[in-house]
Structures are given as C-alpha cells and as structure tokens.
C-alpha cells in the first residue's frame, strides 16, 4: 500500500496556504531557538566545556560535596512536599465535593485556591520568617521563644507545601467531581459504610490522580528557586546551588552540567507523570458525572473535617495577610505600632520602586499577548490541523513544561552570551529586554497551551471544517471562528501569562542586567539582606497589581465573553 499520493496532496494543500506555512515555520524556529537550543547547548557544554569531549565536568561536579548534598536535599524536600501537598489537597477536595459547607468555609476554600495564583511564589517564605523566625510575631512575642530557626529543611517543606497544595486541591477536585456517583451508591447499596466506600471505591479510583498530583508537586518543588533561596539558609537545593555556582563561583561549565542533572530528574518525573499516570487517570475516570455525589451528613465526620480544613485555610490566608501588614510595621521585630506607610514611601523614593514596577509591568505586558496568541496558535495547530511537524511542535511545547526556570536561565546564559554556539550570532539580544520577554513567553507558554488545547478539544471539529468548506482560508477560520469561540480561554491565558511573568524569578534572576529593575528580583534582594519590611512592601504592591489583573479579567469575561452567550443552552 502506498500512501504517497495522499501525503503529497496534503502537503500541496498545506503549501497552497502561505499563512499557515509561514506560521508553522516561524513557530518551529521560535521553539527551536528558545527551548531546544538552550537545552542542547547545556548538554554540549557540559560534555565539551573544557575543550575535550568527556565526562570530566560531570566527574568534577559530582566530586563536590555541596552538589551531591544538594541532590539529596532536593529529592528529600520534593518527596516530602509532594506527599504532604497531595494529601492536604485530597482532604480539601474531598471536603469540598462531599461535604456541604457553609458560606464562610466555602469562601475560605475559594480564597485558598486563588491566592497562590495571584501572589509571587515566595511570599510565604517571607511571612514564615516574619511569623516564626527569630524575631517572629508568633514565636518571639506570643510564645517567647527567642532562638527559633525557620531556615532550612523544615522551613522549605512547610512553605512549599502551603504554596503547592492548592494546586493539588484543584486537580483532585476536578477528578472527584468526575467520579460517577452511582459507583459509590452501588457500594453503599451492597452494605459498605462511608469509610469502606472511601477505601474501596473512591481512593482506588483516585490513586492515579493522586500519583499525578504528587509528581506535579514534586516537579514544582525541585524546580522552585525562590523559596529555598529565601528560607533555605545553608540548606541548598539544586536550583540554588546552580545559581550560586554561576553568580558566586563563576563556574559556568559546572553550572551547565548541574543544570543537566536537574533537567534529567525533572524530565524523568515528567515522563512518568505525562505518559503513565495521566493516561491511567483518564482511563479510570471517564466522562462527567451526571449528578452530584451523596453528601456526608454525619456530623461526627463533617464537623471535624470542615474545621480542620478551615483552620489550615485560615492559616494560609493569615500568612498571606502577614505580607501587607508586615510592610506597615515601623521596625520589624521591635516596634509594631503605630503602623506606618514609610516603607511604601521608601520603595518609591529610595529604591527606584517606580522604575522596578514600570520595568516589570511593561515587560510582562508585552510578553503576555505574545504568549496568549502563541499558545492559542499552538493549540489550534495541535488540536485541529494535520501536518508533519505537528508532533515536533507538540513535544517541544510540552517539554517546556518540564524545564525548571533555573535550567532555562543557565541555558540562555550559555546559549546567548556568546551568540549562537558561541559564534556571536544573535549575541545582541543577550542582556536586553528582548531576552527577558522571550523568557517570560517561554515560561508561560506551556500553561497557556495546555488550557488552549483543552478549550479547543471541547469545540466540535466540524465547526471549523464548515467554515473552511464555506471558503474561508486558515487565517480566516482562526480569526472568525476559532478565536471567538475560545475568547474566554484566550483572555484568561492573557492574564495568566501576565501574572506568571510579573511574578517570575527563577530564570529571570540569572539573566537580568542592571539596566532593568524587576520587582521579584528586588524582593529577593531585600529578603536576602534581611530588609523584610521593604520586601513586603514590594510584594504587597505586586499582589495588588496581579489581583487587579485577575479581577479585571473576570469582569471582562463576564461582560464581553462570548462563551456565556453560547453556553446558555
């Protein structure tokens, strides 16, 4: 059987569509240059960094006790954080789905799921130090403990757990809602008690999903840079070690090799998560449940569960609130009253706050529409079109999901500081705002693409085919049909990209030059120096910006979103 003619015709039809071809070529160039190449150069550099091909650099870094310790540290933290986060996430999800909560508890839950989205990733470290550190409000002034240390292993574990469990909670909530209630009802009907149903039906069905949540958190944890940086103290993880190797020891080849090690770990986890667990989750939980599950009415279960979760939620919220309040104390740790606005003032008068906000804001504002549009185009191509390079585009955009920011940062340094393959080509973009924007785009692309793909999968393929059949070319179909139909997803992608960009730090901190002041980098610096009040003041303003962006988006979708009109069926 020869499929040659069909393939040739498909190719010809594609070529008859110059806009499509140009888009695909540009996309492939972009992905290759800014995702594949930086990773490739890391590999190349760590094998031939000192002139000859071989494992010498790897031998060198594995001989460093700091590096091997960092590997065990990272894995230890990731493992524990993964377990804690998925368990707490499961508890929250279970309570939300199976227990009818009052409005107060419901509001708490919602806030908990929203807060990590709108705040920079490391604010919990700040508040942890301010609440429980040596001069912490709780430890020192309520409990009179004067030598409590939050720095190190437990500090990182607690902060990361509190930061990442809402992600697990949202993931598992979606899965629990998809369990067909008749499965559980059948078990009840045959005489199983509530606990037995959970152990025999619900939990086994959730197991792949739980594993999935665990691995996602694990990857997030080992890729996390800012929290270990601020609260890790001398407890170094891979991300911080790589950073120090570059900024402290100026050992770029060593850092590249370390980045390769970190990348291998995350890629392995990602592969397991993506190809094994996600498929299994989809296999056990198919379709939407037609009605809600039986709610738990038993007070002896309901009350303690609700109270426990509400307390955790309150604790998390308190930690977030601590940031703006901390920015108002006159002297952290000594003088709490009267509250003052002087730190906010200093942000702008002494520490170039205005420039920092402007730089961060402008760069993110440029990056976000590019990201949103790019991710919608990628999702459109992946979901709706057939062409040869599709597999490549899909795989590389997925790959970006598994690459820790620090690794990408090192890759850009190695890849662009001397130009492409150290030849000087494209060297001009290094150190400019352009490369920062590109990093923002690459870092937010996977999330945008993911939500774009799931939005597009909901749209019947024949709707676009019908437009195509009526005589519209690819660009017309995309502009008049696809984009309007996923307008909401596009808008939220826009805001997510903005929020992710303006709160990003891990890759950026390696690439930013003195000509740009970025808020997150500032916060990190002040936190390092121990000027927590200033760090808090910066963080507060940042949270206000991101939260307003999210609010604006929701308002916009409410009044201008098309999907609402379409969904009224």
């Amino acid at each position: 059987m020869a499929r040659g003619q069909g393939a040739a015709l498909d190719r010809k039809k594609l070529m008859a569509d110059p806009i499509m071809v140009t888009t695909i070529v540009l996309l492939i160039t972009f992905l290759t240059l800014f995702i594949l190449y930086p990773l490739a150069i890391l590999l190349v550099d760590s094998f031939v960094g000192d002139g000859s091909f071989g494992f010498s650099i790897f031998k060198r870094i594995f001989a460093m006790p700091t590096f091997t310790r960092a590997i065990t540290n990272t894995l230890k933290v990731g493992f524990v954080v993964g377990i804690f986060s998925s368990l707490i996430g499961l508890l929250f999800a279970y309570v939300e789905v199976y227990v009818r909560m009052n409005r107060f508890a419901g509001g708490l839950f919602k806030l908990v799921s929203l807060l990590p989205v709108v705040s920079p990733p490391f604010v919990l470290s700040l508040s942890m130090i301010m609440l429980f550190g040596k001069a912490g409000i709780i430890t020192r002034f309520l409990l009179h403990i004067y030598d409590n240390s939050v720095y190190g292993y437990w500090g990182i574990v607690i902060v990361q757990t509190l930061t990442f469990f809402p992600v697990c909670y949202m993931m598992l909530k979606g899965l629990l809602k998809n369990i067909d209630p008749s499965l559980e009802e059948a078990a009840r009907d045959m005489g199983a008690g509530r606990w037995k149903v959970f152990a025999d039906v619900t939990l086994p069905l959730m197991l792949p999903g739980l594993g999935n949540a665990f691995l996602v958190t694990f990857i997030e944890s080992i890729a996390d840079f800012a929290n270990p940086m601020i609260i890790g103290g001398s407890y170094d993880t891979l991300a911080t070690t790589i950073y120090l190797q570059i900024t402290g020891a100026y050992d770029k080849a060593g850092a590249a090799a370390m980045a390769v090690v970190l990348l291998c770990i995350t890629l392995l986890m990602f592969a397991v998560q993506k190809y094994y667990l996600e498929a299994k989750t989809a296999a056990t939980l198919t379709g939407k449940a037609s009605r809600g599950p039986m709610l738990i009415e038993d007070k002896s279960v309901k009350v303690p569960l609700t109270i426990f979760c509400s307390l955790v939620a309150l604790f998390v919220i308190m930690m977030y609130i601590c940031v703006p309040i901390g920015a108002c104390f006159p002297t952290w740790g000594y003088k709490f009253f009267p509250l003052t606005g002087k730190w906010f003032k200093q942000v702008f008068t002494r520490y170039h706050g205005f420039k920092a906000f402007k730089d961060s804001f402008v760069l993110s504002l440029i990056a976000s529409p590019i990201t949103a549009l790019l991710s919608m185009i990628i999702s459109y191509l992946v979901v709706k079109r057939k062409f040869k390079a599709k597999g490549f585009i899909e795989a590389v955009s997925m790959l970006a999901m598994a690459v820790p920011g620090t690794v990408l940062g090192v890759g850009y340094i190695r890849g662009y500081s001397g130009g492409l393959f150290h030849t000087g080509v494209l060297q001009g973009i290094y150190g400019t705002g352009l490369i920062l924007i590109i990093v923002f785009v690459v870092r937010s692309l996977p999330t945008g693409t993911r939500s774009g793909i799931s939005a597009l999968r909901q749209i019947d393929k024949s709707i676009e085919e019908s437009a195509y059949d009526m005589g519209a070319d690819s660009l017309k179909v995309f502009m008049t049909v696809t984009l309007p139909l996923i307008k909401d997803s596009f808008l939220s992608g826009l805001v997510t990209a903005f929020v992710r960009s303006i709160t990003a730090i891990s890759a950026i901190i390696l690439l930013v030059t003195p000509s740009f002041l970025l808020i997150t980098v500032q916060i990190n610096e002040f936190a390092e120096k121990g000027s927590y009040s200033l760090a808090c003041a910066f963080a507060t303003i940042l949270i206000i910006i991101t939260y307003s962006a999210v609010l604006l988006m929701n308002l916009f979708i409410k009044y201008f979103g098309t999907s609402r009109k379409i969904k009224e069926d």
């Binding site: 020869a2 039809k13 085919e465 195509y468 009526m470 009224e568």
Partner: protein, 358 residues
C-alpha cells in the same frame, strides 16, 4: 440559480488509514470508481466503517486520496483545498457557528466571497424563505430546535450556490418523526434547486426515500449502484440484500431448466423462478425472499413450523422454520386473517415472481 450543473467523477480512488491499535495500514476506500450525474441525488449507503464518509470527505477535500483522481465536472480537484472547491457540506452535527445568529451563519460564505451587502441580504432572505425559516434570522443558533438548526445548515450550504451539495448523515441527530419530515424537505428543496447532491447515511429507508441512485458500500468498496428499486429487488449479493430491508435467504439446488424458468429444490420443495442464463444444473443458489412477499397458509406451499408469532400493529410478525432455515415474514393487515401460534405446523406460500436469485 442559473448555473451549469456539474457531476462528480471518482476514478480508482483509494484511501489508506493506519489502524491506531495495530499500527497496520488498511484501505478505508479501495479502488472506487463512480460517476455521479449532474443534478442527481445520490446516496452513499453502508454500515459504519464502510468508507462512505471518507469518500464524501475526499470529495469535500478534507481528506486526500492515496490513489486516483476526483473530478468536479471535468476539472480534476485533487489538489484543491476545501475552501477552493465548489462544494458545500451539511454536517452531522450541523456545525453552525455558535457565536453568529442565523442570518450571519447563512451570510458567512457570501461575505467570504465579497458579495455586495445588498445582494447578501436578498440572497440570504430568499434561502431562508426556501427552508421556511423566515423571521428567525436574528435568533442565535442555540435558540433553535434541532430541525431548525439543520435547516440553517442547509441554507448556509445552498446560499453559496455550490456545484455539489454534500450531506454527512445530516439527520442522525434528530428524533424519528422529525427525521422523516426533514428528509422529505431535503428532497423537495434539492429538486427545486436542481443541484447535484451526494448524501451519506447508514439508514436504508432514508436512502430509499431520497435518492435517484443508491451506492451501497461495504468494507471500502462499492457493493452495488442502482436505483432504489434495482437495489431492493435485484441485490447483487447477500450483503446488499440484507442491508437494504429485511431479507430471507433460501438455499437450493438447481434441478432443471425450461427456457427462462429454472426449478430449484429447496429442502426438497420445488420452486420455479426466473433464472439467469449462466445457471448450471446441480449447482447451489441462494434465493432472496422479502418478508412482506410471503405469507402463511394451512397448505399449498413449503411446510414449516412457527417459532415466533408477534403482533406488531400493522402486521403480524412470524418466524418460521423451513427445514433448518429460519424465515422471517410479515403478514400485513392481520385483523381478518387467521393467526398461527408458536408450535403450529403450516405452509409458507409466496409468489415465485417476487423472489430474486443471487
């Protein structure tokens, strides 16, 4: 619509797909040649997986044939993308643009063709009148019933005045009653406009009601092409006979030939039918007997035993055994007839002229 009608010609068309489970290639459509006359209504009929939808999608341009050439009129169209082909498709899921109202949906194709605004308005209104949707033009599509949505889809395809109208199981999402009235509607409109129409369905009664020609497909190849009557009364093989309506297959050996007539021995019972010239004495042949062509009597036909007797309203449904062969039959207007009960022995009678030898 003064437009030259165009036919469609398929020359040795094949389409190869990969089985997602085994990874092996297989023919979805194999070496299919068809001539569809201008202005005719042709149905591609067959079970799921027979290649009918693939054939339609190749004509529309969504799939590219691996072998052969497709012609629209006299023009080869293999290399044209769907938007450049002079065809318009009505989709199974209607595929209306959900963010447009009825008017804009119908006007979409005309706007793409840069037709002047005034003309668009006139043509859209005319078409909406034809499909009896006048007054609905400002509605959003989700405010319409399934039948109305299907009319919009039809109007949208018609308004651009394509050479060929393609239907991909357009009625399968409608309930049974609506399906019947919509198919009459589609036939009426097609005849009014006089357009060439290719219609894919797995519903044989739909195919019968609509078509000038039916093309029965099976496993990627054309099993038979002909008018509904030809296909029903003279199916070429058991598959076609069984797929179009109900069919009983009686196996018999040819005993003797007398001119046009041949005598077959079916389970020892002689049956005299119109024979074909190539039939050989002593060979086995299969005879197709339609359920409505036979009835039961106390004597005078083939002896049989009733194994099922079931009242269906307009007819009495029987299953009887003639020797080892199960025969299904429908006794219409059963009110004043004798009803045979399960276990009774009686006689299967039918007019030899109503059977067809395969």
């Amino acid at each position: 619509m003064e437009k030259i009608k165009k036919g469609v010609r398929l020359e040795h068309i094949s389409k190869i797909y990969q089985d997602p489970k085994t990874g092996k290639d297989f023919y979805a459509v194999r070496d299919t040649s068809l001539v569809i006359e201008p202005g005719s209504f042709v149905t591609l009929l067959g079970p799921s997986g027979c290649g009918k939808t693939t054939t339609l999608r190749m004509i529309a341009g969504f799939e590219s044939p691996d072998e052969g050439e497709i012609y629209l009129g006299d023009e080869p169209i293999n290399e044209l993308t769907p938007n450049k082909r002079d065809t318009a498709m009505v989709f199974q899921s209607y595929a209306l643009l959900p963010h447009y109202n009825v008017f804009d949906n119908v006007a979409y194709g005309l706007k793409l063709r840069k037709v002047p605004k005034e003309e668009i308005r006139e043509r859209v209104m005319n078409i909406l009148d034809l499909v009896e949707l006048t007054g609905m033009e400002a509605r959003m599509t989700n405010q319409l019933s399934g039948g109305q949505q299907q009319r919009v889809a039809l109007a949208r395809a018609l308004v651009i005045e394509p050479s060929v109208l393609l239907f991909d199981e357009p009625l399968s999402n409608l309930d049974a009653k609506l399906r019947v009235s919509m198919r009459t509607e589609i036939r009426r409109i097609q005849q009014r406009v006089g357009i060439t129409a290719i219609y894919v369905t797995h519903d044989q009664s739909e195919a019968m009601a609509l078509s000038d020609q039916i093309i029965v497909m099976n496993k990627g190849v054309v099993a038979q092409m002909g008018t509904p009557q030809e296909i029903y009364y003279h199916p070429v093989d058991e598959f076609v006979a069984d797929f179009i309506g109900e069919a009983n297959f009686l196996k018999g050996t040819m005993v003797v030939r007398e001119g046009e007539k041949v005598t077959l021995s079916i389970d020892g019972n002689p049956l005299v039918v119109d024979g074909r010239p190539d039939m050989q004495t002593g060979s086995q042949y299969t005879v197709v007997l339609r359920p409505e062509a036979a009835s039961l009597a106390d004597q005078g036909g083939m002896p049989c035993e009733v194994v099922l007797s079931c009242f269906m309203g307009s007819y009495q449904n029987y299953h009887v055994k003639v020797g080892d062969t199960l025969v299904k039959l429908e006794e219409h207007n059963p009110k004043n007839k004798r009803i045979y009960q399960v276990g009774e022995f009686c006689s299967l009678v039918f007019d030899p002229a109503s059977v067809h030898v395969l």
